[in-house]
Amino acid sequence: MRETSVTKTSVTKTPVANADTFTGTRQPASALTVDRLSVRFRLGRKGKAGIVHAAADVSLRLRRGRVLALVGESGCGKSVLTSALLGLLPANAQTRGRALLHGPGGDLDLCTAPERRMSRQVRGRRIGLVPQSAASHLTPVRTARSQLAESMRHLRGAASRSDVDALAERAGLAPASLDAYPHELSGGMAQRVGFALALAGEPDVLLADEPTTGLDRALVDHVTDGLATAAAEDTAVLLITHDLAAGRRVADDVAVMYAGRIVEAGPAGDVFADPWHPYTRGLLGALPDGGFEPIPGHPPELTDVPDGCAFCARVPDAPGPPCNGDPEPVAVGGRLIAGHVPC
């Protein structure tokens, strides 16, 4: 199966950013292109206590109308991307590469844009954030309606009662429930209010950073349905998650991150049906319905990432395509794969 699907395609080692990573026939417009983005943190004075390589040469493309799931174990560096794309990295962070937000007025590099521009034009307006615990971002002393209305007034300039009702309905909330205070809302309702807040500025790009952690199944389904709906309305969605089952449920495209690098990416159906990288296989094989087998060992510390293929340093004898030791993903048949190129 794997051989027939791959032998027809050639392996091209082009810079990832130039290769159109998911080469279908016609692709929806890119909303955001992350181009060889690296983020590192220097610990201690002048980095003497070590350097955290949180992201290394990460390339991703977010398209309107599609959900890209970025999956990986906790601590693999995926959450630093949220901060980088929102211009919220701490002062000791250093970035290299670009993250281009595409728009009618041209491209904006989120890594170098001034904070003033990020806060006035980007955060909440062009990029919405669904945070890990949406409910905890609500102010306890004000009703859901007043918080949504204020957010809309702030982001759009005006908000009538029916505007707020319409926003609530997009997030799956009955307008009647908006007059409740946060403590009167169930977990599911509070999650929806948080989701509505992320949509208040009508963003082109929605970032969801571990939005399902600790939620029960019904709420997880609600969150993933909300993301799918946003994509159906032509938003570009990035779902950052360690919950592979949630990612599998909603993603159109998937990128798998290990030790700060993308090790495999492509259309979700192809990658989940036929994973090439041993790490992707390990993640799928750990799911209850995938074999329930843990991956041995631990991911490396991001202060001490081995050279070459970091996963093979952890699990040297994983089955599948052999490792060429190259940590840089290459384009193969509409997918990206690092080190373990099928042959």
Partner: protein, 211 residues
């Protein structure tokens, strides 16, 4: 057997969370309890872990009625039941090393380490280097590995896992569940509480679903 009969329990007067619940945990068997948040499954877990006193009803441990809850639970009964919670960061002393976390029950009950610590820490995949770290220096998944080792260090006859894996990734989940299954195979009775049906289907011998 660890059993509860006709349990009535809650947190606010007149509003029981559980009203007339019966449950039995058998040695060597794993009972899965599935249901959404706030359905009362964690309340049942807390009663069976002897951490919450029921308003009425009885709890029986290997034929003996349970004579007290929380700090009033007799040591012989308390140490027969291990428990692991959802949030490892709320369940450990932040200043201790993971090694001290795992050993704490041995120290508290003045028992010697007959090699169980090494056996368990290897089974949960904690290296010597990780054991020397403190909670803020490890991931949630690594900390939960220590919490499971701690829950098993007195070789309890029963183990209560309340959403043990809901904060950790799939690989850590598979590893923790594998260890719990192996102690169940040696005779420990297990209650596995989770909102994740697919997980319990793969883990437990029987699954009860609450609404």
């Amino acid at each position: 057997m660890l059993s509860a009969k006709d349990l009535v329990v809650g947190y606010r007067r007149g509003r029981p969370v559980l009203d007339g619940v019966d449950v039995e945990l058998h040695p060597g068997a794993t009972l899965g309890l599935a249901g959404p948040s706030a359905c009362g499954k964690s309340t049942l877990a807390a009663v069976l872990a002897l951490l919450l006193e029921p308003w009425s009803g009885s709890v029986t441990l290997d034929g003996q009625p349970v004579r007290g809850f929380r700090h009033r639970a007799p040591a012989t009964q308390r140490t027969a039941i291990g428990v692991v919670f959802q949030q490892p960061r709320l369940a450990v002393e932040p200043r201790w090393t993971l090694d001290a976390v795992v050993r704490a029950p041995l120290v508290a009950s003045r028992r010697r380490d007959d090699g169980i610590v090494a056996e368990l820490t290897e089974a949960v995949g904690l290296t010597r280097e990780l054991l020397a770290r403190r909670p803020h220096e490890v991931s949630d998944g690594q900390l939960q590995r220590a919490c499971l080792a701690r829950a098993l260090v007195l070789r309890p006859r029963y183990l209560i896992c309340d959403e043990m894996t809901s904060m950790v990734d799939a690989s850590t989940t598979a590893l923790l569940v594998r260890l719990v299954r192996s102690v169940a195979a040696e005779g420990t009775g297990v209650l596995a509480v989770s909102h994740d049906d697919a997980l319990l289907e793969a883990w437990a011998d029987d699954v009860v679903r609450w609404r």
